[in-house]
């Protein structure tokens, strides 16, 4: 499957990464060559193979749903790019 500029624009929209118009040709070329590389897998017949779901030999553990921390509001807010009292501030969402 080939990948073109429009596809790259669509995927970058999905990934929420704006792509500079000037860089889009180079990016399309690089990603196309990588896609071509990974498509080597099509040589293999995998009809009878189950996809790997975990590399651990044991099942994942369940834990009790318990509160084990809390009261760390200030610690969490310390790294926020923009805050106001106890809130994270973002650009206006509702007009």
């Amino acid at each position: 499957m080939s990948i073109d500029k429009d596809k790259i624009k669509h995927v970058s929209k999905l990934a929420r990464i704006s792509v500079d118009e000037k860089k889009i040709d180079g990016l399309t070329k690089d990603i196309s060559s990588i896609i071509k590389f990974i498509e080597q897998l099509n040589e293999l017949n995998t009809d009878k193979v189950e996809p790997l779901s975990s590399i651990l030999n044991e099942p994942l553990r369940l834990r009790k749903d318990e509160i084990n921390d809390g009261k760390i509001r200030e610690k969490i807010l310390e790294n926020s790019p923009q805050k106001n009292e106890d809130f994270f501030v973002v650009p206006k969402v509702i007009e």
Binding site: S18, I34, L41, N42, I55, L56, R63, E78, V90
Partner: protein
């Protein structure tokens, strides 16, 4: 006393325990080396002051019954450290100061060590040459303008240049073993689940694993002992008894069976690499091991599989960097969506963006079965290859990398040629098994080359023993002229 910073970690620990050296003297010696370095760029954050005050505290009341008493250690800047900036080599986390400590670093501090600094790495551990770091290239102490490998490039460079007595890295597709090979040092990627991933900045969660990077195999055993252990905060952590890897280390490997996979003899591989591989076989035979030819038929599909699985997981893991709760935020946005898009566009570097886009593409509607599901099936086939081989052999011997260290800039413009660096290391991550790289010789330029030993899941002790036996016979010595101090 001869230069303490050149000694192995094991020897340094012995000297501390015998009270022949104080932690402060030791720490000052490494700080001096760090301060004299003008070129390597292996440190992102220098924690000399913290280290000195911890060393003073240690000397006042030395606690000698630990594995790493009074030892300063610089770590890859992918491990979250409480109150110390943790960048993952990215502009996105340039000012991120964790309010918690990763389990692995915490384990080291509980064994008596303390933080000396945070080491440069490829951005979010995505790279094989340390050229994707927002904080600049790192140089390999073996020669100016040569890459140290990646992604744990700062770790390998600092270790080889005697700026830290030991270090830790993370390995998603070779990020410990390839830089170890490029710098003439030892690097181990443990079994998936042996070392906790809690508090490590995530790249590809089903492949990421932390491990030791050291000057000798004995040091590696000691560090693994300090790092490994069950952690209930990591849902994929394996619950098993702690092992005494360093105490149980032996060079007696008589009767062990070592497999040589024919698929690792790749096109274009240099004669020098073939020679060190042949020599490795001979030394193992001399040690009483039996060499057996084996086949891992799906080896050539490991790298394409990896470049579906790893970007897919990365695109999901890195979705959290949205400029809201922590990390970089773009200032030139009028609405929320634009804020996300500009933050991620300005905050991530080119390689990270490329991988997020590939990951988003292979997981997107209409393509999932063709790429991601296909890759998970091939991953199962690759794992089956190893399972089958390990019915016949105890370990597998291969070269660590298809070439020695290359020049900065040499492979930067061709992503595929850069990815091919990891051709021998990636299959191990896909199968979740352990592997170690040890220095095994040099090429025509006198650049180091490594041999890789691959083991069964949780069979780290045997792997270390074999590496120990080979290391003794190879007796690799590297003398560097400290050009970076000019």
């Amino acid at each position: 006393m001869s230069d303490i910073t050149k000694k192995s970690l094991t020897e340094i620990v012995r000297l501390i325990k015998k009270k022949e050296i104080k932690s402060v003297e030791l720490t000052q010696a490494f700080i001096k080396n760090i301060n004299n370095d003008n070129k390597l760029n292996s440190f992102i954050t220098n924690c000399s002051e913290n280290a000195l005050s911890k060393a003073e505290n240690f000397d006042k009341r030395p606690e000698l019954e630990t594995l790493l008493p009074g030892i300063p250690i610089a770590v890859k800047d992918l491990f979250c450290t409480h109150g110390v900036k943790t960048t993952a080599g990215s502009k996105m986390l340039e000012n991120f100061v964790p309010r918690y400590e990763s389990t692995i670093t915490n384990n080291l501090w509980n064994e008596g060590a303390f933080l000396l600094g945070k080491l440069n790495c490829d951005e979010y551990a995505m790279g094989s040459s340390n050229e994707t770091s927002y904080f600049g290239n790192v140089m390999n102490p073996i020669a100016e303008n040569t890459v140290p490998g990646g992604s744990s490039g700062g770790s390998a460079s600092a270790l080889a240049a005697d700026l830290t007595p030991t270090t830790i890295g993370t390995d998603t597709g070779g990020s410990i073993r390839q830089p170890a090979s490029f710098t003439g040092t030892v690097g181990l990627k443990p079994t998936y689940g042996l070392c906790s991933r809690w508090g490590i900045v995530a790249f590809a969660s089903s492949l990421d694993q932390a491990g030791p990077m050291t000057k000798t195999v004995q040091d590696c055993a000691l560090m693994l002992e300090a790092m490994a252990g069950f952690d209930k905060k990591d849902s994929t952590s394996i619950n098993k008894k702690k092992e005494n890897y360093s105490k149980n280390l032996t060079e007696n490997i008589k009767g062990l069976k070592i497999g040589i996979p024919k698929e690792y003899r790749v096109e274009g591989m240099s004669q020098e690499i073939d020679n060190i591989w042949e020599n490795g076989k001979k030394l193992l035979k001399d040690s009483g091991a039996e060499i057996i030819d084996i086949s891992l038929p799906n080896t050539k599909y490991a790298l394409p599989t990896y470049y579906i699985v790893a970007p897919a997981e990365a695109s999901s893991n890195l979705a959290r960097y949205d400029g809201v709760k922590y990390g970089f935020r773009s200032v030139k946005s009028d609405n929320l969506i634009e804020m996300y898009e500009n933050t991620r566009s300005e905050g991530f570097g080119d390689e990270v963006k490329r991988r997020i886009l590939i990951g988003t593409y292979v997981l997107s509607s209409g393509y999932y079965d063709a790429y991601y599901l296909k890759a998970q099936k091939v991953r199962q086939m690759i794992k089956n290859d190893f399972d089958q081989s390990f019915k016949k052999v105890d370990a597998i011997l291969t070269p660590s990398t298809p070439s020695s260290a290359f020049k900065i800039g040499e492979k930067k413009d061709d992503p595929i040629s850069m990815y091919l660096n990891d051709i021998f290391t990636v299959p191990v991550n896909l199968a979740g098994i352990p592997a170690i790289s040890i220095p095994a010789g040099t090429d025509n330029n006198n650049y180091p080359l490594g041999l890789q030993l691959i083991g069964k899941p949780l069979d780290e002790q045997k792997l270390l023993n074999i590496a120990y036996a080979v290391e003794k016979k190879i007796n690799f010595k590297q003398s560097l002229n400290k050009w970076w101090e000019n």
